[in-house]
């Protein structure tokens, strides 16, 4: 297993990104909305960053809330590693 420092979720639209932000904040997750880092390609300009430990729960919650995500990316130091597009 690789060490996970942080995760970034990208979204197809700003609507989905901001909905995710709202829902995750309601669930008291520490999330940051930020412009998509250059290394990641995304259809929408903003992404959400959170701690890698929360990945599974966050994925489930967003899925249950019908939020469409584009991809999940792992931050390893400064490098971004991508894991499968959704």
């Amino acid at each position: 297993m690789k060490e996970k420092k942080g995760c970034i979720i990208t979204f197809p639209t700003v609507h989905q990104a901001l909905r995710a932000e709202k829902i995750l904040t309601q669930y008291k997750f520490m999330v940051t909305v930020l412009p998509v880092p250059r290394e990641i390609s995304s259809d929408c300009g903003i992404a959400i960053k959170f701690s890698g430990e929360d990945e599974t729960r966050i994925k489930t919650i967003l899925d249950d809330s019908n939020v469409k995500i584009e991809g999940i990316h792992y931050l390893k130091g400064k490098k971004v590693e991508e894991e499968g597009q959704n």
Binding site: T13, V14, L18, V33, V36, D43, C44, G45, I46
Partner: protein, 382 residues
Amino acid sequence: MIYFDNAASSWPKPPEVISAMNDFMERVGANPGRSGHQASLKAGRIVLKTREAVAELFNIKDPSRVIFTLNGTYGLNLGIKGLLKAGDHVVLTSMEHNSVMRPLRYLEKMKKVKLTIIYCQRDGQLNLEDLRKTLEGKVTLVIATHASNVTGGIMPLKEIGKLVKIEGGLFMVDACQSAGSLPLDLDEMGIDLLAFTGHKGMLGPQGVGGLYIREGIELEPLVQGGTGSNSGEELQPEFFPDRYESGTLNTVGVAGLGAGVEFLLRIRIEEIRKKEEALIRTLIEGMKEIEGIEIYGPEDPENRIAICSFNFKGRDPAEVGYLLDREFGIMCRVGLHCAPAAHRTIGTYPQGTVRFSLGYFNREEEVYTALNALRKVKEMTG
């Protein structure tokens, strides 16, 4: 001064609508969904909040299917022109506004779309049996207004929705006149497309409206352009709502609409309906006692929103409207109300009617003042 022209634009607005718009202009101002900075995100959150509030008002599960447009007419055009192709068959009622009639007449001429207009009864109400017979043929789309902007008559959407479901085809509703005044449950009514405007019963400002598109329905966008998403791609994105929202939104208008809808959700539509129905009932009962007034639309106020079209027998509605405004400070709308087929149906074409349209903020005293004014207008030349 009495404002009885709420069906054209509601007024006044709840104070929170004005402060939401003011807040946006003073403290936010940025473009939603274009940049990642804090002000842009704030603007984006205002748009999201409004979309979710509208979805809640109409019982829509996925708010991303609520598209914001410039007004109700644009929403109706997007639904109609985005869906229909050459050879399609559309069924509509004779009570439809020109914002439905004109795009359809255009498609009839340009794309050979077939139209069937169901003529309503003399009181403007639809005979469901007439609709059922028409639906036996192959129909692509059935369009009905939720409430007529001329008579205020409420259409039986639930029953129409059921018939459409049985016979096949899609069901589109023009809720411009009813949204915010009547309960709307899109699932229960079997509605596939719903157009609304922000500046009437939804208590928002002018310049914002929208269209709801049910899952599984694909429309062609009316315009293509920048969406803030998919910027590296020269083709229009496929995702909702961006696919139909090219160009910067009227964000200040959306902010105002959001506050208007939140006001409605707080007061509750049932309460608004109760008050508006009581007002129109008082008005109509009073008018019935004035000799020489002809009232149009359904007999029982229960079957109409807070609209009353009328005429003084043998008198020009324009003259009556002028007297009401200049002599008594009562503002209303006279003429054909952009719905010539509706006036043909109720027998008031081409002169039209005088239309009083009331809203949640009207008071009973205003109704009594207006009734007194009508009695005086009757004496003035009658």
